[in-house]
Amino acid sequence: MEITLTLNGNKITASVAPDTVLLDFLREHGCASVKCGCETSGCGLCTVFLDDKPVLSCSVPVVRADGHKVTTLEGLQEEAAEFIGFIADQGAEQCGFCNPGFVMNTIALLRENPDPTDDEIRAYLAGNLCRCSGYEGQTRGIRAYLNAKKEGRL
């Protein structure tokens, strides 16, 4: 069937099989940042925005995106660039495979709650698994970014 959606600002029309999931569609359409980690909606790696709301693209049939706006990290490079250096300063990116999903959900968090506490950060990102970092470095990185922003150091 044919669907039309706006991917990272570009309107695209494509013919898809009804059982195609958004994750596979996005990777086929040049969005390599979208990663598959588990296939059971349990790891957060495939997080993208559907109409600006974070969703797990492994569990969204692409037909549900018909007529909607889909955003991946490819479309949010500048917004990500604002804070990811603080994650890198902690070394908390590590292998990097979970990073796009984690960065996407962090963007969603900061849009929703620009001044979260550490516990709010942990709660919001609880669905984003990371096997390398032990998570604390990621929290420290976000905290350092928020502090820098408050102190006008950005």
Partner: protein, 763 residues
Amino acid sequence: MKQELKSVGKGVRKKDAMQLLLGKPAYVDDVTPSDCLVVKVLRSPHAHALIEEIHTDVAMRVPGIVAVYTYRDVPQKRFTMAGQTYPEPSPYDRLILDRRLRFVGDAVAIVAGENEAAVDKALRLIKVRYEVLTPLLDFRSALDHEILVHPEESWHALCDVGADNRRNLCAQGMESDGDVEQVFADCDVVLERTFHTKACHQAMMETFRTYTEIDTYGRLHVISSTQIVFHARRILANALDIPKSKIHVEKPRIGGGFGAKQTLVAEIYPAFVTWKTGRAAKMIYTRRECQIAGSPRHEMEVKVKLGADRDGTIRALDVHTLSNTGAYGEHGPTTVGLSGHKSIPLYTGSLEAFRFAWDVVYTNVESAGAYRGYGATQGIFAVESAVNELSEMLGLDPVAVRMKNMVKQGQIMPAYYNEPASACALDRCMQQCADAFDWAKKYPVRVTENGKIRAAGVAMAMQGSGISGVDVGSASVKLNDDGFYVLRIGAADMGTGCDTILAQMTAECMDCAIEDVIVFGADTDASPYDSGSYASSTTYVTGRAVEKACLELKEKMCTVAAELLDCPTADVVFCGREISRADGTASVSLTDVANKSMCRNNIALEATCSHSSPTSPPPFMVGMVEIELDRETGTVEVLDYHAVVDCGTVVNPNLARIQTEGGLVQGIGMTLYENIQYDERGHLSENSLMQYRIPTRLETGRLHVSFAPSYEQSGPFGAKSVGEIVINTPAPAIAHAIYRATGRWYRELPILPEHVALGDTVK
């Protein structure tokens, strides 16, 4: 000798950090073509069976199917998939496809097709008639059992590891020092305990995956998520029975390894398809495949007999480890060694005698492999728990007991291959940790207002730095135009940051900026030989190779500079961005030297050096945990975890800290969440990340990491290793805290809320 350092010791960003955080294409599936054959494997539904009949004709007729292979199509030479130095200690017990199936998930057939839908359909249309055999699932009864996992004549072991396939034995051995029985007889107390750990999964976020194609030269080009490019080349050559010269292996960025990718898991299937069809192929493991047919930790039952005096002096240790290698022997003979070699020597300070014996058995469950800690984790859980039990039994403070008995710098460790604790700050780790944690205050059990119990636990750990006398690290350093360097390595950065820390070392040696060092690796055609990234070897072993190569390159650069400066080589000095005459009268820039090397020059401004160490200096650490335990629900919450690590010189404090935090959380997962359960037919329940619960960021507690560095003379800039040791303390420390809170010792992992709530100590 300590020196003023400019690059080593700095918490610089990982060289690839920003690109990874921006989600740029970097991993196997991102950087290889998608218009290649999709490869999948039909997996055995039975834990033990023989294929009586297999029909692939219907499957072959599915449009888009290019090939279906069965056991009849593969070479009949057995090999091992363990990434180890040749001759591998792991027995040669595998075929690419075998008529005998040895675990649920074992490969029955390989299907290759133009698209995933066709391959999935063909998988369903392969008709197999199995002769279902009784599986051997209990590793405690596997030795000399009437059911044989490997009855085949072609099974063979390259090394004398005590293996005997007619006894289900993958390895067996014993070693000792002193007369343990005599010391036990003389001890005030002798405590005997049995501990059990399960086949935990690495659960790296990127599952196993490999792309293969035939290159311009007709060779098999393999792009894989692997820690071991050179071993992969040999294993593929063995499996396909083709010359190694026909294979080229490279790794792009790796989405985590933790040892899982020290074994070939996905590689052989697409490689076989490409070699047979000439077509490019790709295999991406599902998470389910990763769980049921991966390379997890060896399940172990560790019996500890500990002899001590009433004052807490630990005088004798007798450790027996029974290890379950599963259906195949990857890393079976070697992981087991660490369960004793990296637990017993912690008490070198007072031990008068030790004995360490082991059996490694085959069973019809998923084949085990290498996982961070590699046997040390299991052994340390047992021995450290036994020491905690002893301390509690004698009414002594377990911190004081350890201070009294621990290994000290300069001591020879009979239980650690008679190697010296050449650099050891374990005592400082303990003191520093006790102070930061406030052990004196937190050790006593407290009941909170809501009725929950707060309690504390402690454990020590050690590991190695590479494999003594075996591992080879190499580095090649080259000067380029403008005076920048390219460092080529065969070690694999799997997210840990070895590209960056080796660049820091290069920058230190060449007195240049870290940005002036480009790192390339790892590629079997282009990299100098390296055993690969495992056994905590890269910093210590490859790091030394970097130092050596830099020294040699500097000499060559000085020779070229001397020509330019028209003076003897002995009269020039290397000063980083330039090379000067010793008298200061003239100098040439690195750009001048590099340009000279490209015009009328006979001296290659490149140096390649290898390094292998006769010893494996252990890093040491101490971990202390405070938990809050809910008696009603049995829930154990980690509140604070303090860790103090002696990894020698800390090359990059940020990366060492993250390694430690990541290892602690994996250790917490192993202790409290990550379970492995087989049903009576040998099916694994925890076959997804829904069932196999790795910790989320709500379950880590607050982690507090610091360092108590010693200085290892034989290491690069005094460094040892950090990658593996960090997973070892949580299990014994948390089990200790749970005992403090409940009065019950849990000797089997994981310790789940139901066990705690029901007072079920299992054994």
